[in-house]
């Protein structure tokens, strides 16, 4: 049952990922990308990580993609895209090929598929995924968390300075 569900979701994810790069209208591409993010969120749910799923939808599908859609709408990108650039195609193919090899090597050689560490499905169910993540972030990973927040603060200040030159 779960495998069947996984396969259906995967099919949707792959089809929408292909649509992202084949759609002529950029808004439709953006919609397809949102669909892909949504499928990823479904995977997180299936991996007993509901908090990640909610954050995935909120941040990626909800916030970042809204900005992208805004940009596309305001720049008013025309549907009839210009001529195809062949060098983009060649480099794209090369990069894609090496990425594929990379993924295959990682999946075959390493134990990426096996769950390791103390966090099992039962533990997540009993304690709660949100609690576990929160505890880890504010104890073991406090320094990276603080550094990330400083990075975000810098980005916010930068955005304000770019937008309002006369302060």
């Amino acid at each position: 049952m779960e495998t069947l569900f996984f396969l259906i979701i995967s099919l949707v994810a792959i089809v929408s990922a292909i649509l992202v790069i084949t759609c002529k209208n950029p808004i439709n591409s953006a919609l397809a990308l949102i669909m892909t993010f949504f499928c990823l969120a479904t995977y997180y749910v299936m991996l007993d990580a509901p908090f990640m799923a909610a954050v995935q939808v909120m941040v990626y599908a909800g916030a970042i993609m809204v900005l992208m859609v805004f940009t596309i709408m305001l720049l008013n990108v025309r549907v009839d895209a210009s001529k195809k650039h062949s060098h983009k195609l060649i480099f794209g193919t090369i990069v894609g090929f090496f990425t594929l090899i990379n993924i295959v090597v990682v999946l075959v050689k390493s134990r990426a598929a096996l769950p390791t560490g103390p966090y099992t499905g039962d533990m997540i169910k009993n304690i709660g995924h949100t609690e576990l993540i929160g505890r880890e972030i504010f104890t073991n990973f406090l320094l990276p968390f603080e550094i990330t927040s400083i990075l975000l603060l810098v980005a916010i200040v930068g955005a304000v300075i770019l937008a309002k030159k006369k302060i």
Binding site: M1, N25, I27, N28, L31, I34, P50, F51, A53, A54, V55, V57, M58, A61, G62, A63, V66, V69, F70, M73, K125, G128, H129, T130
Partner: protein, 354 residues
């Protein structure tokens, strides 16, 4: 009850389907009659009668409206982006309905020896002896409501009309700003509850005959959340995206027939959801007198509280004029977000010393 499908008893599936149907029909009926109630209530508040002709005191008005919209001509503007134009109403409508899945509308009832929690996305685990629900319930609602923005943005853009685009842009800017403020204001509630699961939040508010409600512990958060939610679902006094006087009808100017009806339904369904969420977070959910003795009273209290809040929404609409755009942004970014942050800090300090 001996039959098992995929390791779960037959009653599990029956209960699930029954709960989904019940909640869906409830929201649909409420949406239909909320339009009628709104016209009637605002009418009486403005010393008019409201709809009177269709049926006794206009009671059949929603059905007549539905039929009218259903049989209207479907117009797709020739310059519109067809795909986005067609999916936009669906994207607006679906999140409005599926948010109801995690809202608990009653306690645990027992049917034929099988315990059923009255919340769609929840089940009673007999071995653990407790209810398991989506333990990120509130985040799920916030995530879904952030998807609702797309319906409006796309509708505005795909119509290929200036009024629609303006309406769509205003709507999305407004929804994104107020989503932040709404999210920040309920963090104070989670600091008290220590959980994101809506079932547990309701349980925590059950004691002291209603004085454990988070409304009394977090009055500022409750007030801010309700106002921000009104802004997020584009209700008056924040209904700038569909300001008739300046933007014709905002993002739905070019829509007709059932697609227009879908936007309309989405707006009212959002209103039901927001009121239900406010009831769950701040007004004790389905709690009330005698719910332990008679679990079926839970849904009654819940519906009564939701309807009261919906009445308040309509009351606000009849009373207040519309905000100006700069006032709206000022209120969201410079008043609500700082106050919500201060509220979080104060809650933290008080929580540390108690």
């Amino acid at each position: 009850m001996g039959i098992e499908i995929l390791g779960l008893p037959m009653m599990y599936y029956i209960a699930m389907v029954a709960k989904v149907l019940l909640a869906f029909v409830f929201v649909l009926l409420t949406v239909a009659y909320a339009t009628y109630a709104e016209r009637k209530i605002i009418g009486h508040m403005q010393v008019r009668l409201g709809p009177m002709r269709t049926g006794w005191h206009g009671l059949l008005q929603p059905i007549a409206d539905g039929l009218k919209l259903f049989f209207k001509e479907e117009i797709i503007p020739s310059q519109a982006s067809t795909f986005a134009f067609l999916v936009a109403p669906l994207i607006a409508l679906i999140p409005a309905f599926i948010t109801f899945a995690v809202i608990p509308f009653g306690g645990v009832i027992e049917v034929a020896g099988y315990k059923i929690p009255l919340q769609i996305a929840a089940y009673y685990d007999t071995t653990a002896g407790q209810v398991f629900d989506v333990n990120v319930g509130v985040l799920y609602i916030l995530a879904m409501s952030s998807l609702g923005v797309y319906g409006i943005v796309l509708a505005g853009w795909a119509s290929n009309s200036k009024y629609s685009l303006m309406g769509g842009l205003r709507a999305s800017a407004q929804m994104i700003s107020y989503e932040l403020a709404a999210g920040l204001s309920i963090i104070a509630v989670f600091m008290l509850s220590g959980t994101l699961s809506l079932t547990k939040i309701v349980e925590l508010q059950s004691g002291m005959g209603g004085f454990e409600w988070y409304l009394f512990k977090q009055p500022l958060a409750a007030f801010m959340f309700f106002i921000c939610s009104l802004a997020e679902i584009n209700r008056t006094p924040f209904d700038l995206p569909e300001a008739e006087t300046e933007l014709v009808s905002g993002f739905c100017t070019e829509y007709s027939s059932m697609k227009y009806a879908m936007f309309f339904m989405a707006e009212y369904a959002n209103m039901v959801t927001v009121c239900a969420l406010t009831v769950t977070l701040f007004l004790g959910g389905w709690n009330g007198p005698l719910t332990n003795a008679m679990p079926l009273l839970g849904p009654v209290y819940f519906v009564a509280k939701v309807y009261f809040l919906m009445f308040v929404c309509m009351w606000i609409r009849a009373t207040l004029p519309r905000y100006r755009y700069d006032q709206l942004m000022h209120l969201g970014w410079k008043v609500f977000i700082p106050v919500a942050l201060v509220n979080i800090v104060v809650t933290g300090i008080i929580g540390y010393f108690l």
